[in-house]
C-alpha cells in the first residue's frame, strides 16, 4: 500500500513563521508591538517592550499597565488528597489556606534546595491552581507518588492571563463593571461574569504596586483586552513588556527564576542551586508545619546560620551593577559574592541590586566592582553597597482595602 503523507503548508501552522506560538491576546499585542520585539517564554511570543520600556514601567507606578502573562505555566490539582499533597510539597501551610486566596510558595528537594517558586490559588476545598514561570509537571508527578485521590492537569492553554498593575488599576476594573472589586484584599480572589462565562480576578502581581491578575477563558481574551484599552484610555493604560516588568519586580523585591536563582534540578555543580533561606525566603518556610519536603535539611541549615544571603543592595552612584562581582574591601582583594539583578530605580531614585554574598561576609562591608561604558570606552568603578532589608518599593496603596480613590 502506498504511504501518503499529507504535510501542512508552513503558513497554515500559526507559529511556524515566527517559530513561536501566539498567546490568546496575540492579535492585540502584535498590533501594539511597534518594533516587533519579542522574546520567547515557554514557546510563546512575549513582548520585550511595545514602544518604550521606561514609559511602560512608569505606568505601573503612576497609572496602570497590562502584561500578558498567558505563557505562565498553570496546573490544576484536584481531589481529596490535593491539599495534603501540595502541603507536603511546598513550604507554606496549604491545608490552612482559605478558599479563594492565593499564596506565594517555593518547593524544594530533599536537601532543601529550591526546585521552583510559584503561586497557589485555592479554588475550592479540593481544587487548586498552581502557577509558575517554567514547566514543572515532572516534579509534580514525582511529588504525587503516594497520593492516590489526586489529579494533576496542565491547564496553561485553557486559561488566558493578564496582569493589570498600577495605582489606577482598581478604578479601571470598577469602571469596567466589576462591582465590588475594591473590596478584594491582597491575595484574595473574586469572580465575575464575563464574556461567555466567568472571569477570575486575584489581587496579586509582580510589580509590588496596587494590581490584579485576570484569569479567563482564552475565547474571551480579545474582548477583555479591547474593553481594558477602551475604558482604560483615561486611566492611562499601557501595555507592559518584559523589560518594564523586570524593573518593577526588582524594586518590589521579587525573585526572577533563572536570573536570581537556578532551579535545583537544572544545576550541575554543587552550590549552584539555592536554599530558600539563601534567597531570603525564610518568611515562607513554615516550620510549624510538621513536614514538608526538605524541612529537616532546611531546619538544620537555619540552625547552623551558615548559608549565603541574597541581599538587597543600595549601591552608590548611578551605574547599574550588572554582572558585578562583590568584595569585602575596596581593593577588591576578598571576593565574597556576585550580583544577580541590578537596575537604576526611577521611582526610589537609587541604584538597586540583589547580591548573593557568602555567609561569613554578609554583615560586613560590601563593594561592587562595576564596569560601564562611556562612548564605548569601558570604565571600572568600585562602589560601596548598603544592605536594605525592606523591598525598595512598597507603597501603602498596594496593601490598602479599598485602595485609595476607589
Amino acid at each position: 500500500m502506498p504511504v501518503t503523507v499529507k504535510l501542512q503548508p508552513a503558513e497554515a501552522i500559526a507559529h511556524v513563521q515566527r517559530s513561536i506560538l501566539p498567546t490568546p491576546f496575540y492579535s492585540r499585542t502584535s498590533r501594539l508591538n511597534l518594533n516587533q520585539q519579542w522574546s520567547e517564554w515557554n514557546g510563546f511570543a512575549s513582548a520585550v517592550y511595545y514602544g518604550d520600556a521606561h514609559l511602560e514601567y512608569f505606568s505601573t507606578r503612576n497609572t496602570c499597565g497590562v502584561f500578558d502573562a498567558s505563557p505562565m505555566r498553570k496546573y490544576r490539582f484536584s481531589g481529596a488528597d490535593a491539599a495534603a499533597m501540595l502541603d507536603r510539597m511546598v513550604t507554606r501551610d496549604v491545608v490552612a489556606q482559605a478558599v479563594d486566596t492565593v499564596a506565594y510558595n517555593v518547593w524544594c528537594t530533599d536537601a532543601g534546595r529550591v526546585v521552583d517558586d510559584g503561586t497557589i490559588f485555592r479554588l475550592g476545598t479540593e481544587e487548586f491552581m498552581l502557577c509558575c514561570a517554567d514547566p514543572c509537571y515532572d516534579w509534580f508527578c514525582l511529588s504525587a507518588v503516594g497520593f492516590d485521590a489526586l489529579k494533576i492537569e496542565e491547564i496553561s492553554e485553557e486559561v488566558a492571563a493578564l496582569a493589570l498593575q498600577g495605582p489606577t488599576s482598581c478604578a479601571l476594573l470598577k469602571a469596567m463593571g466589576f462591582a465590588g472589586i475594591e473590596q478584594c484584599k491582597p491575595f484574595q480572589i473574586m469572580r465575575f461574569p464575563f464574556g461567555g462565562g466567568e472571569i477570575m480576578i486575584s489581587r496579586t502581581g509582580y510589580t509590588g504596586d496596587l494590581g490584579y491578575e485576570l484569569w479567563l477563558d482564552p475565547r474571551d481574551a480579545e474582548q477583555l483586552w479591547d474593553q481594558l484599552f477602551s475604558v482604560g484610555a483615561i486611566y492611562g493604560i499601557q501595555p507592559l513588556g518584559d523589560e518594564s516588568l523586570e524593573m518593577a519586580r526588582l524594586e518590589a523585591g521579587f525573585l526572577a527564576p533563572d536570573v536570581d536563582f537556578h532551579g535545583s534540578l537544572h544545576t550541575v555543580q554543587r552550590g549552584h542551586d539555592h536554599s530558600p533561606l539563601e534567597l531570603g525566603l525564610g518568611w515562607i518556610l513554615n516550620f510549624k508545619k510538621p513536614h514538608f519536603s526538605g524541612r529537616a535539611a532546611l531546619l538544620a541549615q537555619r540552625e547552623s546560620g551558615n548559608y549565603r544571603r541574597l541581599l538587597k543592595l543600595d549601591i552608590e552612584g548611578n551605574k547599574p551593577a550588572e554582572h558585578s562581582i562583590l568584595y569585602a574591601d575596596k581593593k577588591c582583594a576578598k571576593e565574597i559574592g556576585y550580583i544577580t539583578s541590578a537596575a537604576w530605580s526611577p521611582v526610589v531614585k537609587a541604584n538597586i541590586a540583589y547580591g548573593l554574598v557568602e555567609a561569613k561576609y554578609f554583615e560586613g562591608p560590601i563593594w561592587a566592582e562595576i564596569y560601564h561604558q562611556k562612548e564605548l570606552r569601558w570604565q571600572r568603578k568600585v562602589a560601596r553597597c548598603t544592605r536594605v532589608t525592606k523591598p525598595f518599593w512598597s507603597p501603602e496603596r498596594a496593601k490598602a482595602t479599598p485602595p485609595p480613590d476607589c
Partner: protein, 512 residues
C-alpha cells in the same frame, strides 16, 4: 491511647521476633503486633492440608550460631531436624551429582578438583565479608567515626585476602552466574544447581550480571552446621522458639493484630492504629513489614521527602518464586535416586533456568519450570501423618505481575510444575493427596509482603548495604524520628537469618 511499651514492633516475622527478643533482653518493654493468627511470617509452619505441615521458607543456610546462643534458642524449643543436607543436582535420567559441605559425589574428576578450588575461594571471600552482614551499614559522607571505621574495615578485609585473591574477587564479583560456572565446571546439571543459589528470590537468572557472587556469599553466611540445616517442626520450629525467647524476656506478642497505620505527631512516630481502630502509643515504632508497606501503607508519603519517597517507590518488589506444597500418601520415586533426602535441584542445565526466566520477564511463565525440592517429612515426622510425606518446592519463575493475573493462571502454572516434577519423579501425581500452590500474589495476600518478594525487595547491588532499602533509611533509622525498619527489606536482606532484626535492635539500643 494506652502506653504499654517502649517499643512497638509491627510484624512478628522472624526478624521482628529477633528484634523483639534482643530489645527485651536489654530491658526494653516490647510489644509485637502481628497481623496473622500466628507468628513467624514466611517462616511459620502452617497446616496446608489436614495432618500435613510446611513453611514457605524451608531451609536455613543463612542462620548463624550467634543468634541461637544469644537468645538461648535451644532452651526455647529450637532444634535441628537435619543439620547438613546435601544439594543433589538431578539429571532426568539418573547420574546425579551430590554437593555436600566439603565436596562432590558422583562428579567427574575435573569437576571435583575444580569444586575444591572454587569452594576454598568462595569460603575465603565469604569469611571476608561475613562480619558486615551483622553490622549497621556505613552512611557515606556522614563524617561519623563508626561509618568510617566500617568502611575501613571492609577495605581492610578485602586487602587481607592477599593481592591475588583480592584481585580475583574484584574480577569475579560482578560476573553472571553462568560465566562463573562455565569457568569452573563442566557438568550441566552441576552448573545449574550451583547457579540456582546465585539468583533465587530476585528477578535474576544465570545470565544476569552483577549479583551472582554477592548472593552466593550471602547464602553462605550461616554457620550453624556448615551444611544446609532444617529446623525441627519446620522453620516454624525456629520462629516459635524466637517468640518464646522474646516472651521469656518479657516481650508481649499479640497476634491477629494488623496495624493499619502509624500515628505521626509533629513529625514523629508516636504510636500505631490497629485495623480495629485501637490506638497504642510508644516512643519507638519498628516495622518488620517490607519497605513499601512500611512507608506507603503504614506511614504515608506526606511524612516523607519527595526524592526519598520516589526511591522507595522504585524498589523492585515483584516476587518471582512460587511455593508448592504437596501432601503425598507415600515417598515418591526420583529416577536413579535411592532416597530423596537432600535438597533436589531440578534443572538439567543453566539455559533451562534462563528459558524459564525469559518467559517471566514479559509477564508469562515457561512450560518447563526449574525448581528446588525438599521432602522435610523424611527428616521430621511431625510434619506429616506416619508413612506419608510433605513435598516442599520453590519454583521459578512465577512473575508477580503475570499477564492476566494469577487467578487466571494458577491452575495452569500448577500443571506445568507437576509436569516438570514428573520428568524426574514419574508417577508422583498419583501420590498427591492435597496440594497448595502459593504464587507471589498469594504470598502477598497471605503474608503481607508486597509482591510476595523473597527478600522484601530485590537483593541486588543497587539495593545493597548502604543502599538497602535506600540511603536515608539504611541504618535501620528512617527519616521520621521514632520510626525504624527491622525486616528483610533492610540490610542485609532476606532469608531466615535474623540479622536485620538484631542489627536493628542494636541500632535502637545504641541510641539511648
Amino acid at each position: 491511647m494506652s502506653n504499654p511499651a517502649d517499643v512497638i514492633i509491627i510484624g512478628g516475622g522472624h526478624n521482628g521476633l529477633v528484634c523483639a527478643a534482643y530489645l527485651a533482653k536489654a530491658g526494653r518493654k516490647v510489644l509485637v503486633l502481628e497481623a496473622a493468627s500466628g507468628v513467624g511470617g514466611l517462616g511459620a509452619t502452617r497446616e496446608f492440608a489436614p495432618g500435613f505441615r510446611a513453611a514457605v521458607a524451608h531451609t536455613l543456610p543463612q542462620l548463624g550460631r550467634q543468634l541461637v546462643k544469644d537468645l538461648d534458642l535451644g532452651r526455647h524449643g529450637f532444634s535441628l531436624a537435619a543439620d547438613a543436607l546435601p544439594t543433589i543436582a538431578l539429571a532426568p535420567a539418573g547420574g546425579h551429582i551430590t554437593i555436600t559441605a566439603d565436596g562432590l559425589e558422583g562428579a567427574s574428576p575435573a569437576d571435583s578438583t575444580a569444586y575444591a578450588t572454587y569452594l576454598k575461594l568462595m569460603k575465603k571471600f565469604a569469611r571476608a565479608i561475613d562480619p558486615f552482614w551483622h553490622k549497621r551499614p556505613p552512611m557515606l559522607g556522614s563524617g561519623g567515626l563508626r561509618d568510617a571505621a566500617t568502611l575501613g574495615q571492609f577495605g581492610w578485609n578485602l586487602r587481607t585476602l592477599g593481592k591475588t585473591d583480592m584481585r580475583e574477587m574484584m574480577r569475579m564479583i560482578a560476573l553472571p552466574a553462568r560465566d562463573l560456572m562455565d569457568e569452573y565446571f563442566e557438568s550441566p546439571p552441576l552448573k545449574a544447581a550451583l547457579a540456582w543459589d546465585a539468583n533465587i528470590g530476585s528477578k535474576l537468572a544465570p545470565r544476569s550480571p552483577n549479583n551472582a557472587v554477592i548472593a552466593l556469599l550471602y547464602r553462605m553466611s550461616g554457620d550453624l552446621t556448615g551444611g544446609l540445616p532444617l529446623a525441627r517442626g519446620g522453620t516454624g520450629g525456629l520462629t516459635d522458639a524466637l517468640a518464646a525467647a522474646a516472651a521469656a524476656h518479657g516481650a508481649q506478642i499479640r497476634t491477629g493484630s494488623a496495624v493499619a497505620r502509624i500515628v505521626v505527631e509533629q513529625g514523629r512516630a508516636v504510636g500505631v492504629e490497629l485495623a480495629g481502630g485501637e490506638l497504642i502509643r510508644a516512643p519507638k515504632i519498628v516495622s518488620n513489614a517490607d519497605p513499601k508497606t512500611s512507608f506507603f501503607k503504614l506511614l504515608g508519603a506526606r511524612h516523607l521527602d519527595i526524592q526519598f519517597t520516589n526511591r522507595i517507590n522504585r524498589l523492585r518488589m515483584n516476587g518471582q518464586v512460587a511455593k508448592l506444597h504437596l501432601a503425598l500418601d507415600g515417598l515418591p520415586d526420583f529416577t536413579g535416586l535411592a532416597e530423596p533426602g537432600g535438597r533436589l535441584l531440578l534443572a538439567p542445565d543453566m539455559q533451562f533456568i534462563e528459558n524459564a526466566f525469559d518467559a517471566a520477564k514479559y509477564g508469562g511463565y515457561a512450560r518447563e519450570l526449574p525448581m528446588e525440592v525438599l521432602l522435610p517429612s523424611l527428616h521430621d515426622d511431625s510434619l506429616a501423618p506416619a508413612g506419608q510425606h510433605v513435598l516442599s518446592a520453590q519454583v521459578q519463575y512465577a512473575p508477580y505481575n503475570v499477564q492476566g493475573g494469577w487467578d487466571a493462571h494458577r491452575d495452569s502454572f500448577l500443571d506445568n510444575t507437576m509436569a516438570s516434577l514428573e520428568r524426574y519423579a514419574p508417577g508422583i501425581r498419583d501420590r498427591v493427596v492435597a496440594s497448595e500452590l502459593l504464587t507471589p500474589a498469594d504470598l502477598e495476600q497471605q503474608f503481607g509482603v508486597t509482591g510476595g518478594h523473597w527478600h522484601h525487595g530485590e537483593f541486588a547491588l543497587d539495593n545493597w548495604w548502604m543502599n538497602r532499602p535506600t540511603y536515608g533509611a539504611s541504618q535501620y533509622r528512617t527519616p521520621v524520628p521514632g520510626f525504624y525498619l527491622c525486616g528483610a527489606g533492610a540490610h542485609p536482606g532476606g532469608g531466615i537469618m535474623g540479622a536485620a532484626g538484631s542489627n536493628a535492635a542494636r541500632a535502637i539500643l545504641e541510641e539511648n
